[in-house]
């Protein structure tokens, strides 16, 4: 293993990206929608809305050929796009770290009901479905794409996608792998929708991150995958290097299962750790992509952490893009890492939909695209249980 002081010798770059969201199949429709400030949330008129009240969702338009459990199906499409974009031959000699909150659980719950019915009839229980369980989406991706490396599933609730990227980076940095796919996937099920409804976190209207009128989030589904490579290996094969993952920081709030620490202390520790690993100081951060769920608790805690961080240097522009597709839970951290990559490459920062009357003095990007020459960005993710993950992304 590489000694700690020499670890900087192994740097991690992003060579491919892929996404499936309510905006469509692929990164491009989602990025265009983000730039245009266009939301793909639609009213949900099913039994969940009838039981728990009005809500909007961002349902991913999976094509007819995408079969089986939806988180896995979306992840396969995103992985294929990322692999193609990276110019990799198939099957790639790569592992996968996939983050998810509850992807793969719906078939497992169906199996529970089937077992109960079989028991009642005195019949043999049906076998556990192959696409069921938390590890199933990652294994489906591995089979579909012929991945030859280790296959891992990570779960840190809504920061799972970012945690997966952080984990894969650690594998590459310490020599455990040269090439990894990483990201997240989530499906919208009655289980998930009802749970967020009874937690009273869903807005009946518009998502408004950092707006003084914010009253909750909308849920979305989809997947986002990046291809991560050891930098020199990527250069040797003339891979398209899109960005570098400069650092990652993770922390636990140790505070509450659903509410963040009110002053964002845990998130602050993750930010500090990411900046330290990236060897950046706050003044060199060009963009902050906030978790920005539009819930009162999240936005206040996140704003508090960012104010502490930037009080000496004014602070960079901050945006939140969950209103475009809804909060994609386990996929969101990876999706928004891709946003940082695209922002750095294009010099364009998508606006924060719904933020018209910002609370506080942070520089929230709103109204339209902001143009800037940023070379670094932080992507913030916070999950139930106080799981915070921050990724520092830089120009290659």
């Amino acid at each position: 293993m590489t000694p700690p002081d020499a670890r900087r010798g192994r740097r991690v770059v992003v060579t491919g990206v892929g996404a499936v969201t309510a905006a469509g199949i692929g990164v491009e429709p989602w990025w265009r929608s983000a730039l245009e400030g266009r939301s793909h949330l639609t009213p949900e008129n099913g039994p969940i809305a009838a039981r728990f009240g009005p809500l909007s969702i961002g349902r991913a338009p999976l094509p007819a050929g995408a079969e089986g459990e939806r988180a896995g199906a979306a992840a396969i499409l995103a992985a294929r796009e990322a692999i193609r974009g990276a110019g990799l031959e198939e099957p790639p000699d790569a592992g996968l770290v996939l983050g998810t909150c509850l992807g793969g659980m719906q078939p497992a719950l169906g199996w529970i009901a089937a077992v109960a019915a079989a028991d009642a009839r005195g019949e043999a229980a049906p076998p556990f479905p192959p696409d069921a369980g938390l590890a199933a989406p990652a294994r489906r991706v591995a089979r579909a794409c012929g991945l030859l490396g280790p296959i891992l599933t990570l779960s840190t609730a809504c920061s799972s996608g970012a945690a997966a990227i952080a984990e894969a980076c650690a594998w590459i940095r310490d020599g455990g792998a040269d090439l990894m796919l990483a990201g997240g996937a989530e499906s919208l099920t009655p289980f998930v929708l009802s749970g967020f409804a009874i937690l009273q976190t869903l807005t009946p209207g518009l998502m408004r991150p950092f707006d003084r009128r914010r009253d909750g989030l909308a849920l979305g589904e989809g997947a986002a995958i990046v291809v991560l490579e050891e930098r020199e290996a990527a250069r040797r094969r003339h891979a398209p290097v899109l960005a570098e993952i400069l650092g990652a920081g993770t922390s636990a709030d140790a505070h509450h299962m659903t509410a963040p620490a009110p002053e964002g202390e845990g998130l602050g520790r993750a930010i500090d750790a990411a900046l330290a690993e990236a060897r950046l100081d706050a003044s060199s951060v060009g963009l902050v992509n906030a978790h920005g769920t539009g819930t009162v608790h999240n936005d206040r805690a996140e704003a508090a952490a960012l104010r502490r961080l930037f009080r000496r240097c004014g602070g960079p522009p901050i945006n939140a893009v969950k209103p475009v597709t809804g909060h994609t839970l386990g996929a969101s951290g990876a999706l928004e890492t891709i946003l940082c990559i695209r922002a750095i490459r294009s010099g364009l920062v998508p606006p924060t939909i719904g933020c018209e009357e910002p609370e506080g003095d942070l520089d929230i990007v709103r109204g339209g695209v902001r143009r800037g020459g940023m070379t670094t960005a932080l992507s913030l993710s916070c999950g139930f249980g106080g799981h915070n993950v921050v990724l520092a992304v830089g120009a290659p």
Binding site: L102, L134, A135, L154, S155, S194, A252, M257, F384
Partner: protein, 312 residues
């Protein structure tokens, strides 16, 4: 199969283990009440929240094993503080029994759904419980990769410590499948195994020398595991699952002596799925007391994924 060898191997400083004595007796495993109110954090959402936590064996087993590990490591519970201490958990089905309970309530239009129960359905609940109970604000995450997850958690803890992002990480595996999920495949009982992985030096403690990960359904990878036991000069081998099938895959019939030469072997430490690899580490360290030297711990998922740890 690829091994990473740590130049500054972190210490394995304390262990917690919760198992059923007879892993073939599901009734014993499920009915044995574990009600440790003293381990529960104060309820923040009222009595209903406390009751939901008390009935959640996934979180409770994790807390019991965590406390034992911290106590054995000689780390006073009040002394474990701040952002330099993390929690990494591995599991297969996590709180699946809680998921089933919530799903049944959801299917009943007359039922009142419990927000506390819903938040317990996320697999990160056990790590969050431990972080909250022992005020561990450093790196925290949960591997849900199947039967290799406990070993992955300990390997990830070692990575964090070696990389300097944490001084101490409580890591291991937890499984609480309930009576339904115990039937989801090869028999699964409940259990938890946690270890304290730390950069702090202490005499007499075992250390994590290396970790490896690969596909076990590739015979060359299984051979690589066996080769590792020779390359790392392991005196003992812990095959956390029943690896007779693996031995056959490796092309040596059932002759484990030929595949995994060692002074002692421990086969099949239990059937705790995601807790297997971590339980294997506990067994390996215990064997190290009698037979000094290195141990190779191997956990294999029925899908073919393999995780291996070298301790010494």
């Amino acid at each position: 199969m690829r091994f990473v060898r740590f130049d500054a191997p972190p210490a394995l400083a304390g262990f917690g283990l919760v198992t059923v004595r007879d892993s073939g007796s599901l009734a014993l495993g499920i009915s044995g009440a574990i009600l440790r109110d003293d381990l529960l954090p104060p309820a923040r959402s009222g009595p209903e929240d406390a009751e939901v936590r008390r009935r959640d064996r996934y979180g409770m087993l994790a807390l019991i094993a965590a406390r034992e590990a911290l106590e054995q490591a000689g780390v006073g519970l009040d002394g474990v503080a701040g952002g330099r201490c993390g929690v990494i958990v591995g599991t297969t089905h996590a709180s699946a029994e809680r998921n089933g309970r919530y799903a049944r309530d959801l299917a009943d239009p007359e039922a009142t759904l419990s927000p506390s129960l819903f938040v317990r359905t996320t697999s990160g609940a056990a790590a969050a419980d431990i972080a909250f109970a022992f005020k561990m604000g450093g790196p925290g995450r949960t591997f849900a990769s199947g039967w290799t997850a406990g070993a992955e958690a300990i390997a990830a803890a070692a990575r964090s410590v070696v990389a300097g992002t944490a001084d101490l990480v409580l890591a291991g595996g937890v499984e609480a499948p309930g009576p339904i999920f115990a039937r989801s495949g090869p028999f699964i009982s409940e259990g938890a195994a946690m270890a304290v992985v730390t950069s702090r030096t202490a005499a007499g403690r075992r250390r994590l020398i290396a970790c490896g990960r690969g596909h076990g359904d590739d015979p060359t990878d299984l051979r690589a595991v066996a080769d590792a036991s020779r390359a790392f000069e392991c005196d003992t081998v812990v095959l956390a699952n029943d690896l007779e099938a693996d031995a056959r895959l490796a092309g040596s019939g059932d002759d484990l002596d030929a595949v995994f030469p060692a002074r002692a072997r421990w086969l099949r430490v239990g059937a705790q799925a995601g807790a297997l690899g971590a339980a294997g580490v506990v067994v390996g360290c215990a064997m190290g007391v009698e037979i000094p030297g290195r141990s190779l711990v191997v956990a294999r998922d029925p899908s073919g994924e393999v995780a291996a740890l070298v301790i010494g």
